[in-house]
């Protein structure tokens, strides 16, 4: 008797809207956070899948606890030219790729490396919308599509990196995952622009053979106490940990908001049952089964939660669009998968059913005689 449930809800508009608002906020929070979780997951897996399993990353030891000042005010220190040379000498190292990493335009990453080394990240497979890779001796850059949009730059234009002019040599096609947000320049250009003195922020090593990964890592860390070497395995587990933390956060916030929403549902449904004791008594007196009453209350919950959850998912699409296009300038940081959308609606309905159970059971226990006697 969903029509009766709808009539009942429409009869108490304010109460219905407030209950719906609670569910709406909870589901919006869950879907929005969940979409970021899903999006980050997707970005990371797309950017790591193109890197070889035998790759070793070397960088300056970084301790979060030693950080002072606001986040972001610290820049990761560079390794010196001597360190780069020493590391390249380690036995078993086939290729040494020093990279100078910096930032531009707020959150775009600038990577300075020799252009022939971009294959380490699957760079050789990237499609260009315009232009091409620069030569190693050029002071030129390749931009991700989002970066190009943000700088409003086309091939042949000049952009400023660290207040120095760099020509745009190429722009990647849109939808290149993490590369949408990256600026790539030749190592020599970066060395010059960021005054790195032949050093590097990061060194990527390729071993002669995958079996040598661990021994290279050990040698790097033994010979250079101030450096950390990370294998692909380490990097993946670190990223998994990051995604795990993000998921726990999403789950935690989702749990708390849904708890608050559930308490709201219990209170409104409880009030509604107390208010309608007489009416429920009449229904029982005229022959309604206990389960008919139970279903009536649950149906009211299902109607409210279905409408507000679907609305919440709809509004979340709008939020995701806002995050991706306004905040992130076009990168798909957040994404709502069909599983997430359907799951969130089901969760909203299930949550409401669970929260309505106690008030509904209370309604079943209403004594029809007591209820109908009162005038």
């Amino acid at each position: 008797m969903f029509d009766i449930a709808v009539r009942e809800l429409a009869g108490h508009r304010t109460r219905t809207i407030l209950t719906a608002l609670g569910i709406f906020i909870a589901i919006t929070a869950i879907v929005s956070l969940g979409s970021i979780s899903a999006g980050v997951n997707d970005l990371i897996s797309s950017s790591t899948s193109s890197i070889g399993a035998d790759t070793i990353f070397v960088m300056k030891h970084f301790d979060m606890s030693e950080m002072s000042g606001p986040p972001g005010s610290q820049s990761i220190e560079d390794m010196t030219a001597e360190q780069v040379a020493e590391i390249s000498e380690i036995s078993g190292v086939k290729r040494t790729v020093p990279i100078i990493v910096s930032q531009a335009g707020g959150f775009f990453e600038v990577d300075g490396l020799n252009i022939e080394d971009v294959d380490l990240f699957g760079g050789e497979n990237l499609e260009f919308e315009e232009g091409m890779w620069p030569e190693n001796d050029e002071k030129a850059a390749v931009l991700g599509k989002v970066v190009a949009n943000s700088f409003d730059a086309a091939v042949g234009d000049t952009i400023l990196l660290n207040k120095k002019e760099v020509e745009v040599a190429g722009i990647f096609e849109e939808g290149s995952g993490a590369y949408d947000l990256v600026i790539i320049i030749p190592y020599d250009a970066a060395n010059d622009i960021y005054e790195a003195d032949g050093g590097a922020t990061q060194i990527i090593l390729e071993p002669v053979d995958i079996s040598m990964v661990d021994s290279i890592k050990e040698t790097v860390e033994e010979e250079h106490e101030d450096l950390d070497a990370m294998t692909m395995e380490d990097a993946l587990s670190m990223m998994e940990e990051m995604i795990g933390t993000l998921n726990i956060m999403t789950f935690g916030i989702g749990f708390v908001t849904s708890l608050v929403a559930a308490i709201g549902i219990i209170i409104t449904m409880y009030t509604s049952v107390v208010e309608r004791k007489r009416q429920i008594g009449i229904m029982k007196a005229t022959g309604a089964y206990g389960r008919t009453i139970l279903m009536q209350i649950l149906e009211e919950g299902i109607v409210i939660s279905l409408v507000s959850s679907v609305l919440a998912v709809g509004v979340s699409f709008f939020f995701v669009d806002l995050i991706n296009n306004v905040l992130m300038g076009g990168t798909k940081l957040a994404m709502i998968t069909p599983e997430l959308a359907v799951g969130a609606v089901l969760y909203g309905v299930l949550l409401t059913i669970l929260a309505s159970l106690y008030p509904a059971r209370m309604a079943v226990k209403v004594d029809p005689i007591k209820a109908i006697r009162g005038n």
């Binding site: 008797m1 029509d3 009766i4 009539r7 009942e8 009869g11 007489r278 009416q279 009449i282 229904m283 029982k284 007196a285 005229t286 022959g287 309604a288 089964y289 206990g290 389960r291 008919t292 029809p368 005689i369 109908i372 009162g374 005038n375």
Partner: protein
Amino acid sequence: MQKENIFDIRDVSKVYCMKGVETHALRGVNLTVKRGEYAAIIGPSGSGKSTLMHIMGCLDTPTKGKVIIEDSDTSEMDDNELARIRREKIGFVFQAYNLIPGLTAIENISLPMRFNGIGKGDAQRRAKELLDKVGLGDRMEHKPSEMSGGEQQRVAIARSLVNDPDVIMGDEPTGNLDSKTSEEIMDVIEDLHKKTGKTVIIVTHDRNIAKRASRKIMMLDGKVAK
């Protein structure tokens, strides 16, 4: 063949326990009501007449004794079976009308049919017929608050008939109405009794109402006096 006795009440007692104090509402009531009878249960306040009606109507269960409705012993039934009897065999008309405030006349009348699993369309068609029968064909979409007491009670009578029950039970059905409207409501009930042969049992303390019944059951101190 239909059974002669529709109600067979055997040695029924009802004890209420409130804050540790026992109140004996019924003390060993024996009573039979035949199919098609028109009976009035009368008696002073607190004599147990309403309690007796609630027990006969399966709204309440006796502390002791048996209530047999058409061969079925209701004292052994669970809540669902009692609900089914209330829905299918008995139509209630209450003093306070007891319509659901948020629903229109037609929705109120069709509700017990919906409980029986009948679809909205069929139930409302039947409700409309009954509303015509009680002379309120033009008030279908009105809510109880938009109707007079007499009109609300007519809607309640229509609701009591919706599942075509064997018995109509009125618990002071005219208690909230003026004498003219009371007569009108009783005319409707009596008309039903005459035309359909339904058993009618009315609880009242109004002599004029009781007078119209063919049988009077006098309650006194929780017992049937005559």
